[in-house]
């Protein structure tokens, strides 16, 4: 079980969290302005990263808040967690 550092509550076991998919995908402000291809990209196209992946997590059974995390998909190690709206911090693999 992973240990995840909620930016609001601190380190907690994975059991308390829900995964939320890739981070930093903003919902278009005016979806109607997008053509079919761009809208499909927003709906369906996601990275399949081997390495550092920015992703959303929700501390569902804690503060219930969403936040973002940088996780190395090769090791499952979390390199950083940060609040919604913040930029992803610069990290290097340990």
């Amino acid at each position: 079980m992973l240990i995840i550092n909620c930016p609001y509550c601190g380190a907690r076991p994975e059991l308390e969290f829900a995964y939320g998919g890739q981070a930093h995908i903003d919902r278009p402000v005016q979806p109607a302005d997008l053509n079919d291809e761009d809208w499909t990209g927003y709906l369906y196209l996601r990275e399949n990263t081997k390495g550092i992946h920015a992703e959303r997590w929700r501390h569902l059974h804690g503060c219930a808040r969403f936040f973002n995390a940088l996780r190395d998909t090769r090791t499952d190690h979390f390199l950083a967690t940060y609040k919604v709206g913040e930029k992803a911090p610069e990290v290097t693999r340990p």
């Binding site: 079980m1 979806p31 109607a32 997008l34 079919d36 499909t40 969403f66 090791t75």
Partner: protein
Amino acid sequence: MSKQFRIKGTGRVDPSRPINFTFDGKSYTGHQGDTLASALLANGVHLVGRSFKYHRPRGILGIGADEPNALVGIRRDAARYTPNLLATQVELYEGLNAVSQNRNPSLEHDRMEVNDKWLSRFIPAGFYYKTFMWPKSAWDKWYEPRIREAAGLGVAPSQPDPDVYTQRYAHCDVLVIGAGPAGLAAAKEAAATGARVILADDRPVMGGSLLAAADTNISGEGEDWYSAGAWRKEVLAFLEKQPNVTLLPRTIAFGYYPHNWIGLCEKLTDHLAVLARGAPRERLWQVRAAQVVIATGAIERPLVFPENDRPGIMLADAARTYLQEYGVAVGQKVAVVTAHDSGYRAAHELKAVGVDIAVIADIRGRSVVSDRAVQAGLNVLTEAKIEGTSGKLRVSSITMTAAGMRSNFACDAVLMAGGFTPSVHLFSQSRGKLVWDNKLQAYLPGDSAEAERSAGASRGRFALAEALADGVDAGREAAQAAGFTPGTPAFHPQVTVKHAIGSGGYLGAAPTSADLSKAKAFVDWQNDVTAKDIVLATREGFLSIEHVKRYTTTGMATDQGKLSNINALGIVSEATGRSIPQIGLTTFRTPYTPITFGTLAGHARGMLFDPARVTAINDWAVAQGAAFEDVGNWKRAHYFPKHGEDLHAAVNRECLGVRKSVGIFDASTLGKIEIVGPDAAEFMNRFFVNAWTKLGVGKCRYGVLLREDGFVTDDGVVGRVAKDRFHVTTTTGGAARVLGMMEDYLQTEWGDLKVWLTSTTEQWSVIAVQGPKAREVIAPLIEDLDVSAEAFPHMSIGDGKICGVPLRLMRVSFTGELGFEVNVPSGYGRMVWEAIWERGKAFDMVPYGTETMHVLRAEKGYIIVGQETDGTVTPDDAGLGWAIGKAKPDFVGKRSLQRPALTAPDRKQLVGLISSDGRTVLEEGAQIVDPAAPKVPIGHVTSSYYSAVLGKPIALALVRGGRQRLGESLYVPMPDSVIGVQVAPTVFFDPEGARVNV
């Protein structure tokens, strides 16, 4: 008989405490401290099992977790029977009752022996894939049952497990796995820094190889020297005294999981003769360690030569350990076959207690070690080829060739010394990278993925002095990495030994003049895989070790190839001319050794396996004799049978009761979310498809929710209870999902909105009162709210009082009848329900369950999300296009509804179906075909029931272009017949909706 194999004055067993036990019904005596294996060997018993495929007689091969042959069942009582235990790990207790497995009728006479003599040439590697191909139908009925009968492990227990299993979470700074020399040294060093240390070892007594060390001395920090045994005691005494140290004997570390999370299984009672009532049998430890020291030692390697599997043939260092730890000589006349100096050590130590050493056959050349053995009077052959063995139920001789001479040696035991394989299982599970060491001919731990380090033999430091020094360093480094400061300087003990472990080793099939394509030279004892099988697999084109493994099944038994994998690699390397690193390695998987389901389940059994959610009215329904169904975790009343009614009779009666007069239904499981804030209406506008701005306070609207991809994901009635407050209902199963989705948009997309969301599902009990008499039943109970038709029309919501308690009343209908949903704080739910029930008696009110609810709504064509929808249904498909707020610029899923595929004219649309014969109830999920183009189904039945009020079956279906097909005849092909149906509108009953608006 036992006397001659027990060597007095040797080992840690207690001869003054004899223990009686039985094996296959025969009585034996052992000593306190014995394992079942050591006690059997002390009684001269080697034959303990029959092999998996060929049913060859098999003896005890090893001494620990790597044992492939000696699998036994232990029976305590009718319910406590554990199959497939290793005799090498079963601790002896008074009255122990052990039985052998995979033999019929007995170990000595096994009918399936024909597999070995006559059938073996027909069952080579991969025979499952080659032999049982025809006829196909014979597989289920004939081949598989017979294969399962012939090739088997133990029998599963037939009764529920009566034992209790418990779990514990623990944190520590340094977890040391393995309490051999390296592990003890590491634990001692780490503990001395003040770090919290857990030391786990799978055996009942800690010390590992120190327990079997003979004529070995270890230096202390002063001038003093200790015997290996005294050093072990000294260190353990120190560790026991430390408040920061937890010692866990009988505890196997079975799995290494991400972020230094280690699974340990502690066995608590299996070694006891008498079980304390209710005492847990095993404890699962889930340890989160800052640093881990892996000191799991090494596994001895057998040699692959013809007929190397007869009882009496075993691992050399295992035999030596039986002597030094248990005072047991494994034979009277012993032959040693060796590729490693440790074979000589075993011979010297056995000779010292009077065991006759028939021969030492070294497949290597002459060396200092072999010369010393000759000087000691031992008969040594070098550059030996091993040709075969004989003996039926016990080895009686071994044949070898050396210096051109073929000779036969009588013996009652053969010891194999193929070298040692570092136990890198846990390291590999931690996703660390293994590196091939050419000098040691072994895979060793390389780069770490977790905060761990290996020490001692588990990383190739085999000699005692090296292992101790490595353990000291690992313990200090681990403590330091966890934030503690070791004292200075490090002290590495010196060691003197009479017979060193030495070096050497061999991988693959040992040299022989025998034809290995005919001989049975076993690589994997437990799965009966021979060198021949592995060569055959490479010849048939299997080059990847993963494929060889699956094709031959080598390494796939319960021992997971602890003994066999490395020799299999050696044979593939030889056969294909590629180096071992080129061939690769199969994956080391958890668990390291089998663990019980009980350990993993812990207390999560029966009612505690999965929590049941019940409403405030649940007990009333139970008392009424309701039948229940599970909806998620909820227990819901399915129907209320009377006088032995079946489901259909009860549902027909309940349906008619509601339509004729009035029914009462527990709708408390519906999801409920309260949406509050100045921007509540705007939030609703963005989230649901409907328009909410103009919905007046005190009014309800049917809401439809899409995912962003445009497909229906949930629905429910929403009431506006104030300008800034909405009472949202969801489906029973969708409550958590909808709230999560709302939070997602609110927190991550719509930070501009001032809205708060609260789940109120469990705060309200919801009592649906439905039917023409519904108002007459509830009106007299209500205060502070006018529920007359004029003041409180269909789709109204209002707060008041019922039976003197707070009430939120919704006038809604999922039945097509005049209906109310009485919401009261759930603490009052039962009281209000019973008050309504009492009043309803005068109106012949029926309680009804979810099945009747389903039928009544289907008669009205109301959809159920998840039944009429399957994640590919748009609002228009479901006939809900009217609900969409067309003027809104955006809502979740709106843009997707314009995608070409979602606007195609031949999409599946919801329609009604009437069976042409007027009596066949269609099967839900059945496919529908058009007689004009019958090859491709054009839809499927989503809901189907018998309608009592209409006196005929009705169904809802999704049919391609369905709304253009009203009146058409279609077919529903079933296995035994084809059913004709007519496409109809979705509303079967009261299409004008006159009954709702009264």
